[in-house]
Symmetry: C2
Subunit: 173 residues, 2 copies
């Protein structure tokens, strides 16, 4: 009986759309089939000098035990909006400095936790989680139809949202 432990139930249907993207069709399809640059990095270009967690489980564990907020960036390598935001994020010195105070995770595959998609699955999408492991659904960007999306021009708002995330929901000792 043990030989057949199906894990299919664990695999949810994964639907990802590139937020605000009208020009995805333009991309050369070669890009998606190209092999990644080796060795692959956990930062994926969002900040090579920062420490990134690998998985959601690791990130939750570290946020809870280090009492740091968790910042989760959902993105896709071949989404031009994700790429543009990544460039702005990586080049913004204050963001890179403030990011050191966070547990960081960037994901190109969705997790099975629906709490990470309060208004659906799309990229780019940035969510903050309090060290109490509460999703900070109150920390949003400028777009009412995609609350957790940011464009490169929103980079200052993202920075101030990171400052907001540093003020925890519960300040207990």
């Amino acid at each position: 009986a043990m030989e057949k432990s199906y894990v299919s139930t664990f695999l949810l249907l994964i639907v990802i759309s590139c937020a605000l993207a009208k020009d995805v069709g333009k991309k050369d399809t070669k890009e998606t089939t190209a092999k990644p640059k080796l060795p692959q990095t956990l930062s994926r270009g969002w900040g090579d000098q920062l420490i990134w967690t690998q998985t959601y489980e690791e990130a939750l564990f570290r946020a809870k035990h280090s009492n740091k907020p968790l910042m989760i960036i959902h993105h896709l390598e071949d989404c031009p909006h994700s790429q543009a935001l990544k460039k702005a994020f990586a080049e913004h010195k204050d963001i890179q400095k403030l990011a050191e105070k966070f547990i960081l995770l960037n994901l190109v595959y969705e997790t099975t936790d629906k709490n990470l998609a309060p208004d659906g699955q799309y990229v780019p999408r940035i969510l903050f989680i309090d060290p109490s492991l509460t999703v900070r659904a109150d920390i949003t960007g400028r777009y009412s139809n995609r609350l957790y999306a940011y464009e490169p021009s929103d980079i200052s708002l993202l920075h101030s949202n990171m400052q907001k995330a540093m003020k925890f929901l519960k300040t207990e000792l």
Copy 2:
């Protein structure tokens, strides 16, 4: 109400023990607090020229859609048995070559899927998953108390187990 979506239920108690390790206490505690070498790689030294998936969700998706078996290595950076197995794995040319035919994932944090711990959580522990998303609990190492553990001296058995995993449970077109 949306502001408070607790994710704590998603975070299971994570218990990891270093299999067969009698000398963990000897390690300098500095090692566990040391910052990782930047930028961090997905391979973590198990084969820098191989393509590694980042998360379990990604690995399941790719195994299913590429019709390749999935190989999951649970390990810890400061577990001497994991380190020794990693060295043997990375230096074994036939294993590195055969590994190209697998979807590969190495994890230092446990997932929440109990199917990945048929006889408990320990490291190092290597499991194979069929493209049909069935855990190959029949592919085991030499140790009856920890069926999925391997020592460096078992590297040939690991190689032949990889060959076994290439023969799928269901060969449907």
